[in-house]
């Protein structure tokens, strides 16, 4: 066990998988000598060599095309998109190619690819760095989408993603990279890719969140307990595609009320899908409608206004009060 930040847990996971499996390759922009702009790949090129960990030309479609070609020949590429807003350049290689190869060839070809990318707001970036674009990918068949919220999950989920034989999009919230340390085992372990996790138990209502919003939800739940004596159960989705409906339903059977918090803008996103699935599988256990607390339907805002745009504890508390009163 070692105390690790999320970024250290990610580096550790990459290191162990590079060690374990000679087919694992790590590449992207600045991931080699520089160790990545966030140091996610720090020291990995020195340790594993330039054939395993390397810099690419600055071209996102080229990077994921390279990854697809390698994966089709049996390598297990872990490609980095330097900031997730840059993924627009590579949408075809991810959604149009990687995610369809197994289906397209009736299983003759498959793409064991992991795409890692930092995203998420609250760190004062220029435009196109912080956007929560996970909804676009959660809607894409053939692709798994994972967002860890802590160092332990980050390591276990990343190792699972690397060992999985289908493409996995692994999104890392920038605000969480160094916001906490926790005990992380030194050996390799896996966290199942498509399971949500109850991170706070409660009997009165269910709050569903992912990424940095897990902490906002937890703070709001604590405040509700303190001020109103209400015990909210908080679920960290961890996997946005597929969504672990069973864990949500089990919680709602107990609490009868639910709310979703997401950092992405409001419409047609993961929160909408979660609510639809609750409708399909748990509507008879509900005592009121399922609300979602989200930013408005705008693009991710300029840095001067992002704190007001992202849901904060007060907005989540307000949402919880509303959910209870309906």
């Amino acid at each position: 066990m070692t105390q690790r930040t999320m970024i250290q847990a990610i580096t550790n996971a990459l290191d162990l998988e590079l060690e374990r499996d000679p087919d694992v390759l790590v590449f992207g922009e600045d991931v080699g000598k520089n160790g990545g702009v966030f140091r996610a790949t720090d020291g990995l090129q020195d340790k594993h060599g330039q054939k395993r960990v390397f810099d690419t030309p600055l071209a996102e479609s080229g990077i994921l095309g390279l990854a697809n070609g390698l994966a089709l020949q049996g390598f297990r590429p872990v490609a980095e998109i330097q900031f997730f807003g840059f993924v627009f350049e590579a949408m075809d290689q991810l959604i149009g190619q990687a995610a369809r190869m197994r289906y397209r060839s009736h299983g003759r070809f498959h793409v064991p690819l992991v795409v890692r990318s930092p995203f998420g707001g609250g760190v004062k970036t220029p435009e196109m760095h912080s956007d929560s674009l996970e909804g676009l990918f959660a809607q894409s068949p053939g692709l798994r989408v994972v967002i860890p919220s802590n160092p332990y999950d980050a390591k276990g989920l990343l190792i699972s993603a690397i060992r999985n034989n289908d493409p996995v999009l692994f999104l890392e919230h920038m605000k969480l990279y160094r916001s906490m340390r926790m005990e992380v085992p030194d050996n390799a372990y896996t966290v199942t890719l498509d399971q949500a996790k109850v991170v706070r138990e409660g009997k009165d209502m269910t709050v569903i969140a992912y990424g940095a919003m897990v902490y906002t939800a937890l703070q709001a739940a604590d405040e509700m307990a303190k001020t109103k004596g209400v015990q909210a159960e908080v679920i960290d989705l961890r996997s946005l595609s597929p969504i672990d409906t069973d864990t949500l339903v089990a919680s709602i059977k107990k609490t009868h009320r639910a709310m979703v918090v997401q950092e992405a803008q409001r419409s047609a996103g993961v929160a909408a899908e979660v609510i639809a699935q609750i409708n399909e599988h748990a509507i008879y256990y509900l005592e009121g409608p399922v609300l979602r607390i989200t930013p408005p339907d705008t693009v991710y805002p300029f840095a001067m206004i992002e704190e007001e745009w992202i849901p904060d504890t007060a907005r989540v508390v307000h949402g919880l009060e509303q959910t209870l009163s309906l």
Partner: protein
């Protein structure tokens, strides 16, 4: 377009046979046996008949998607003939012939054309990827394939195809640039058939040749008469050998022309091509040229050609029968092919369809 058939200031232009079937560049004449040259002729005749049958079958509703290949036989056959079975082809949607000669069973291509999932469930030892629909996407994947061969120390080559329109894509440049930067065993082939559906090359680019785009990526570019099967073979063979020997990638532009429409889905080429232009290219028919070359030497006869035509007709009919007997596709089998381990939500959806299908 005849101007580009002359030596340009940017890249070399190569030709072995002129349109009369006479050797104009003995140095480039590939070292093929008489039987091998006759084999190239057989393949081109086969392809011309196959194309006619495919066009007809499409009209009859017995095939689905088809992009005609008549006119481009030399570019397709000559380049594939320069590869080995272990080399990997990343084709565009028109590049069916290269895949067939690389091992795609005819009936499976027919299934693919119809939109049947088993069409691309090709045997494991056959090395080509599903014909690409997104123009240029295969170029970036080719670099990945080639890097895989390089990292494993395998003496294999990745070869990819696109058309003149494809060279306008960002992926085209990203693909050749990655291959150059990593010094990869890759061959990038552009079949310049003069029109991207309806848009002529001079509206695609101000570049005098498409091969010169290689210069920006720091790799060799070469232009070849794409209706001269011996020249296409020779130039591709050199590029494939270079790649296999660790000397890096090459971009090849073949100058050719499709006689038919873009696809069989309603394209009318008379809207964008003049009769004169079509006539001009018909004078450069790749089959006529090689036939002249072989006939001069007494290596080809009408009887032989007739026999090849009869053989392919019989094979086509036989393959169509096999394709017709393929099991009907099901939605549940489609769902099964989305993931190795089916997520729970998809399992539920699968169960619904499986019930209906039972």
């Amino acid at each position: 377009m005849s101007a580009v058939l002359e030596q340009t200031q940017w890249v070399p232009f190569k030709q072995v046979l002129n349109s009369e079937g006479r050797v104009v560049d003995p140095d480039l004449m590939p070292s093929l046996s008489q039987d091998q040259v006759r084999e190239l002729m057989k393949r081109m005749v086969t392809l011309r008949v196959l194309d006619q049958r495919a066009v007809r079958s499409t009209r009859q509703g017995r095939l689905g998607f088809y992009a005609p290949v008549a006119g481009q036989e030399a570019s397709m056959i000559g380049s594939e003939y320069a590869t080995r079975k272990e080399d990997f082809i990343l084709p565009g949607y028109r590049d069916i012939p290269q895949c067939l000669y690389h091992g795609w069973p005819l009936e499976q291509w027919m299934l693919w054309s119809r939109g049947h999932q088993q069409g691309m469930e090709i045997p494991p030892e056959v090395n080509f990827l599903v014909p690409q629909i997104i123009i240029g996407a295969q170029y970036v994947q080719t670099s990945g394939m080639a890097l895989a061969f390089k990292l494993r120390g395998e003496k294999r080559v990745a070869i990819t195809y696109t058309g003149d329109g494809g060279t306008s894509q960002g992926d085209f440049y990203e693909g050749i640039n990655f291959a150059g930067a990593f010094h990869l065993p890759a061959v990038f082939l552009v079949q310049n058939n003069q029109f991207a559906i309806s848009v002529p090359v001079n509206l695609q680019t101000a570049a005098e040749t498409l091969a010169q785009k290689a210069i920006a990526a720091g790799i060799p570019g070469i232009q070849v008469d794409g209706n001269d099967v011996l020249a296409v073979y020779a130039v591709t063979k050199q590029a494939v050998d270079r790649a296999r020997n660790g000397d890096g990638p090459t971009l090849i532009e073949t100058l050719t022309f499709r006689f038919g429409p873009h696809t069989m889905s309603g394209d009318d080429p008379t809207r964008y091509r003049s009769k004169e232009l079509v006539n001009e290219w018909e004078q450069k028919d790749p089959l006529v040229r090689l036939r002249k070359f072989l006939t001069i030497q007494g290596l080809w006869s009408d009887e032989e050609e007739e026999q090849v035509m009869e053989t392919v007709k019989a094979e086509f009919t036989e393959a169509m029968k096999k394709a017709d007997s393929a099991p009907k596709m099901t939605v549940s089998s489609l769902i099964d092919s989305m993931f190795e381990q089916l997520p729970q939500a998809l399992q539920r959806q699968r169960a619904e369809f499986a019930r209906q299908e039972a």
